[in-house]
């Protein structure tokens, strides 16, 4: 049995057992048991929807704090591209990056620069003959996990490219080890907009081990930077991405950076699900590229960000212009599969399967139908399952009892 590591967690003391998160979870991974929400580990894809809707802030994300810096000899900050949109416009990104040095980092690497390079490489992959259409972006790890659990027939459409953060980390780590550092002395700290990326570091898809050491939240960094930024003079030139790479922070930015026409870009997990449904039916096979994001507006909408997603998106749009779409991209990372791509296969994780034995699964299905007919069908969630059918499934799987239905009990 695989061990699942999740960034999304529940802080039990805050949970009052309301049903906000139940219904929003796209993989039906939450149950309320004895008045507290529980997340079923093998079902969770770390999208963070529950975290976003919880009125009691009972859902959190497991991230490191900046204290971890003391564990490493050489500390590298790897800011998410969406960090570009977080700060008020009077603070240039280079100044923010210099503020990170003041916070204790030895080096700051502009992740958006790798997105610049990846835009060029990705375009080459798209241009190859015999690729499946549409190719699906892996930039949002939630979408990749969603395909693994719900749309395994689309796995072959996934473009098996690494995210900019991972390519950057590999590159930096290699360089530092060549300079004489030991592997464990190098701390590469990602500044994350979402729990999903944190999970990608701790329990990655497509590779054995991430080159990133830890992840901290954008939120923590934001407040620490804001405290000191007025005193920081941005002397060191760290910012180097062009508008192309910076644009990756918002939905559609990736396709725009590649300069392709034949794409669709979708944000919000429910909308992504609708499009993947169509894709599974073969409706989009003439399309070249699909980028989907769990969060509204893409990474700028990540639940660990500070700024409103629409304000942030607008800033990214302006910054894309400011830093320029036509500037030459310095390709200082060799564009070979070893640097840019995943090297282990993506496997389906069929969490909705009732049983691996077809006959047993059928028997269970028949029973589920029976129970579903008995239940009131109003999907109130009071039993702790997101809807009546899921309660029927839980009963058949032995996780719940028909008596859990409050309405049936009342009669």
């Amino acid at each position: 049995m695989k061990n699942y590591w999740h960034s999304v967690i529940l802080e039990k003391d805050y949970c009052n057992g309301c049903t906000h998160c139940l219904d929003r979870c796209p993989t039906q991974a939450i149950r309320i048991i004895e008045g507290k929400a529980q997340i079923i580990a093998e079902r969770c894809i770390d999208c963070g929807e529950c975290l976003r809707v919880c009125p009691y802030h009972a859902k959190g994300a497991l991230v490191s704090s900046l204290d971890v810096l003391k564990n490493y000899k050489y500390k590298v900050a790897l800011p998410a591209i969406s960090l570009y949109g977080q700060f008020p416009e009077e603070y240039e990104m280079n100044r923010v990056y210099n503020a990170l040095l003041e916070l204790g980092f030895d080096e700051v690497y502009d992740t958006a620069h790798v997105a610049d390079i990846l835009s060029v490489y990705e375009n080459r992959v798209l241009d190859k003959e015999n690729v499946n259409r549409p190719l699906i972006s892996t930039y949002c790890p939630v979408i990749t996990r969603l395909i693994q659990v719900k749309y395994p027939a689309l796995i072959d459409n996934i473009i098996k490219l690494e995210a900019p953060m991972e390519i950057a980390a590999r590159h930096v780590r290699k360089r530092l080890i060549a300079e004489g550092f030991k592997d464990e002395e190098v701390g590469i700290i990602y500044i994350s907009p979402c729990p999903a990326k944190v999970t990608s570091i701790k329990d990655p898809i497509g590779i054995e081990k991430s080159a990133i050491s830890e992840a901290v939240s954008t939120e923590e960094i934001y407040y620490k930077v804001m405290k000191i930024i007025d005193k920081v003079e941005g002397t060191k030139q760290i910012q180097r991405a062009t508008g192309k790479g910076i644009g990756w922070a918002r939905v559609g930015g990736q396709s725009y950076a590649m300069g392709i026409d034949d794409y669709i870009a979708v944000d919000g997990i429910e909308e992504v699900i609708k499009v993947l449904e169509s894709m599974e039916l073969g409706k989009l096979s003439s399309l070249a590229f699909f980028e989907g994001y769990a969060c509204i507006n893409g990474c700028v909408g990540g639940p660990l960000n500070v700024e409103n997603t629409f304000i942030c998106k607008n800033r990214i749009r302006k910054l894309t212009k400011h830093y320029g779409m036509e500037k030459p991209i310095v390709i200082d990372i060799e564009m070979i599969p070893e640097n840019m791509e995943w090297n282990t296969p993506i496997l389906p994780t069929p969490i909705f399967k009732l049983d691996s034995d077809f006959k047993k699964a059928l028997e269970k299905m028949a029973k589920i139908e029976e129970f579903t007919q008995m239940l009131p069908g109003i999907n109130c969630g009071a039993c702790g399952a997101p809807n009546c059918r899921v309660l029927a499934e839980d009963i058949v799987n032995g996780y719940a009892k028909i008596e859990d239905c409050l309405l049936l009990n009342k009669k």
Partner: protein, 148 residues
């Protein structure tokens, strides 16, 4: 050529869905339910995809062309059988209807993105066995079998 008939032997489970004519807002609902149910059985992803396409195209056809009809899914130990029946108006020329790109869909249906003339050809393509019978003013019956 095989005649259309339902084979009721060894059916492990039956699913039945009624589909109304011109009910565009709900078009795709029945096939989506079927897919979600079959996803829970231990069926291979690509087989599931073929069944999803077959039932989806059938459902859309019922909505845009028929006076209303039904989809029955028989789950068996070695295959899925899909029976699509409607009460008219029937297809005048079945051979022509099976041609890629041929469509008699109304302008309203086309404006909604349906009626590309790929429904029946796609259904045939994804099925291991495909039988269609149609009689003018009586209706159309389709049987599709997808083997695991």
């Amino acid at each position: 050529m095989k005649k259309y008939s339902r084979s009721d032997e060894n059916v492990a489970m039956k699913l039945h869905y009624d589909v109304l004519r011109d009910d565009f807002s709900r078009a795709g609902e029945a096939s989506s339910k079927i897919k979600n149910m079959l996803r829970q059985l231990a069926i291979d992803a690509n087989i599931l995809r073929r069944i999803a396409i077959a039932t989806y195209e059938a459902e859309i056809n019922l909505v845009i062309h028929s006076y209303g009809g039904s989809i029955d899914v028989y789950i068996k130990s070695d295959c899925i059988e899909i029976y699509v029946e409607d009460s008219g108006p029937g297809i005048e020329n079945v051979e022509l209807a099976m041609t890629k790109g041929f469509s008699t869909a109304t302008n309203i249906a086309r404006e909604m993105g349906f009626g590309a003339g790929m429904g029946l050809p796609n259904m045939e393509k994804v099925s291991d066995e495909f039988i269609i019978e149609s009689e003018r003013d009586k209706g159309t019956n389709i049987k599709m079998v997808v083997n695991y």
